[in-house]
Each structure stands twice: as structure tokens, then as C-alpha cells.
Symmetry: C2
Subunit: 220 residues, 2 copies
């Protein structure tokens, strides 16, 4: 039987992307919790370039970078598809997953972990970026169509973490009168039983993130 | 017959990536040269999110982001493979192409277009990053093995532009006693007839880049 190990962190959306994909395919795996303040020799061995989680190790061979791992999982195991079959739709899914990682998430991070004018500027950028996603998700249940796909899996941070983080950071972004399609997607996402089963418990995550914000606020 | 158009810039390595892939597959296409100081309404229509070249338009449907386009080309047309067949090797190719775009190229850009301490720090980072690539290419003709593949195509900037740019910028990075495997790859790359046919003429590129460096130096 194939041996599948995942080096990750329970509270990391990037790590959870991989768990969600493995669960979708019905792949049994061993989860190895990493301490990012004291990374294990195995993590450093398996991802010497970035020294980051998540790393999937399949039959002793490591794969790093969450979007790369998601494609590997889709190509390796049978089961529900993560990427669409049609090459044009596949390209669109890759485009939006890349957009999340390169534009959306860095802007959100900046808005949450900055102060003053920098924070306000970052907040405005996040709203602009989410406006683009709001337009993209219009009329669809999920980015993947009727079922979750690559962009929805990669979108766990904006679907779940984001609401908790902005609340803790005191950032007002998704208000009642704005981003209606994005808000609808968040709702669908968090009510999807498969998604719910693969997200960290809210109360535990709040405690974890609260501690990080408190440390940030006292260091300001 | 399928209609294939490429919106690009002759001197852009990102644009040339797509031309190289289309030529590899034997796909006929129309090249539309963009003026980045005055982008065409069509480019803005086809890539409203990033407003950047390259954009491939296939039967009226646009695809943006060069790495996404390369995968689309590989999945759409027959001919020599751009990505390997084996899922693990595909993951490795994607990992290194991503590494080029996210780590290598930004560091090189910073080293070339900065001054003083910032420049020196960036230069050291470039050497460190190229050391990682030097190790990866060890014992292989191309990143793709015996033939060029995704990483070699995405690597045109480090294989060709890089030497010209560092010379114009007066940056010493690839010296005689350093990075032997990377230097060997550069040599193989620039002597490969297929690669040569798909790179911009050196003299024309030097004139183009020189003007940019002169503008940068007078604005310092």
C-alpha cells in the first residue's frame, strides 16, 4: 500500500488545502504536525528550498508548494476531479488559484498585519481584489461550478480564515451592502458539509489567532 | 482552422516563452506587438485583471499568465511534450518553474534595478538562488532532461536575458569559478538551435535594454 505523509500545521490554510484534496480523493494519510518555530530535520530534508509546510511525501518522494501538490494529487489518485477536464477551464482554474496566492492573500495579510496609512491602503486593495473575485463567482455556486474545485480548495483562506482574522484585526471589509456574490460563496462554502469537516474548529482557531494578534499589538 | 493570436512584446522573456512553446508544437499564430506605455483596448479586454502581456487568444478565448498558458498549450496541441508525463516529474517541473518566477526573477530584477547596499544584498541573494539551480541542473543537459521542457522554456530569462542584463548593469554574478553546472546549462541553452531561433536578436536586445539602463541611471 502506498505510503502518504503530510507535513503540515493544523491551523494553516495551506496545509488544510492538501488535507481537503486528499479527503476528496479518499486517500489515507499520516499527518505530521510541524512546529514552525522549531522545524523538524525531516521537513528541512524534504523541502530544503523553501523550508515550509505543506510537504506531501508519497512513497518517500517529497512534493512542496501547495498548488503544485494539489495538481499532483489530482493526477495521481482517482476520485472526484480537482481540476476541470477541459484545457481552457483548467487554465481558468489555474489562473484564479494563482491570483489568490499572488494577489489576494498577500494583500489580505498586509491589511491585517500593518498599521496606520499602510493598513488603510492595503484594506482598499483587498476590497478591490475581492471585487474581482465577486465578479468571477457571480451566478455560480462554487468557483468549480456545482462542486468544489481547485479554486475553492485554494480559497479556504478567504472562505474561512478571512472572516475570523478580519474580525480579530478589527478590519471592516465584507459589509452587508458590498460584494454580494462573494458573500454568497462564503455562505455556500461554510455550509458545505465536506468543507466543514475539513476546516479547523472555529473556537480553537480563534484562540490560536488571538494569541498572534495580541503578540503583534504589544510589539507595535 | 483554429485561430491563435498572441499579444506580446518582442523583447519580453515572458512573451517569448509562449512563442517558444507554440513553435515547439508547430502551432501557427499571429503575433500582436503591444506598446506597454499605451496598451491596446484588446489587451485590456482580454486580460482585465493584470492588464499584462502575454495573452494567448485561442478561438476568441483569452488565457493570461505565462505559466498557465504553457500548460494550456501542452494540453491543447500534439507534438513534443512541454511537461513530463509522470505526475511526480510534472510536480517537480511545476515546482522549479514557480521557483523561477517567484524567487529567482524578482531577486535578479532587484539586483539589476537597485543601487548601493540594496543592490549588494540582492546580488548575494541572486548568487544563493542560482546556487540552488546549479545543484538542480547538475548532471543533466536541460532541466527537462535531454530535451528542453517547461523549466527551460520558463528559464529563457536566466539563460539569455540575464547575461546581457548583468553586463549592462555592471553586476558580477556568474564568474569563472562559480556555478559550474548553471554555466554549462547556459552554454547548452544558447547553443541549442531551437532555442536560438526563438530568442530576440542580441544586438537589437542590447540597444533596447541599454536605453532602459540609461534612463534608470539618469533618474538615480
Amino acid at each position: 500500500m502506498a505510503e502518504v505523509k503530510l507535513f503540515g500545521v493544523w491551523a494553516s490554510p495551506f496545509s488544510r488545502r492538501i488535507e481537503m484534496a486528499l479527503k476528496l480523493k479518499g486517500v489515507k494519510y499520516e499527518f505530521i504536525e510541524e512546529d514552525l518555530k522549531k522545524k523538524s530535520p525531516l521537513l528541512l530534508k524534504y523541502n530544503p528550498v523553501h523550508k515550509q509546510i505543506p510537504v506531501l511525501v508519497h512513497n518517500g518522494k517529497p512534493i512542496a508548494e501547495s498548488l503544485v501538490i494539489l495538481e499532483y494529487i489530482d493526477e495521481t489518485w482517482e476520485g472526484p476531479a480537482i481540476l476541470p477536464k477541459d484545457p481552457y477551464e483548467r487554465a481558468q482554474a489555474r489562473f484564479w488559484a494563482k491570483f489568490l496566492d499572488e494577489k489576494c492573500i498577500p494583500a489580505m495579510w498586509k491589511a491585517c498585519w500593518s498599521t496606520g496609512d499602510e493598513r488603510e491602503k492595503a484594506r482598499e486593495e483587498v476590497i478591490e481584489i475581492l471585487g474581482i473575485l465577486d465578479n468571477e463567482i457571480k451566478g455560480k455556486k462554487f468557483f468549480g461550478g456545482d462542486n468544489i474545485g481547485l479554486v475553492d480548495i485554494a480559497g479556504n483562506l478567504i472562505g474561512y480564515w478571512f472572516g475570523i482574522i478580519t474580525e480579530l484585526a478589527g478590519l471592516e471589509i465584507v459589509t452587508e451592502d458590498k460584494l454580494p456574490n462573494f458573500r454568497k460563496w462564503i455562505n455556500e462554502y461554510n455550509n458545505c458539509s465536506f468543507v466543514k469537516e475539513n476546516l479547523p474548529p472555529k473556537d480553537k482557531l480563534i484562540v490560536f489567532l488571538k494569541a498572534r494578534f495580541e503578540a503583534f499589538n504589544t510589539s507595535k
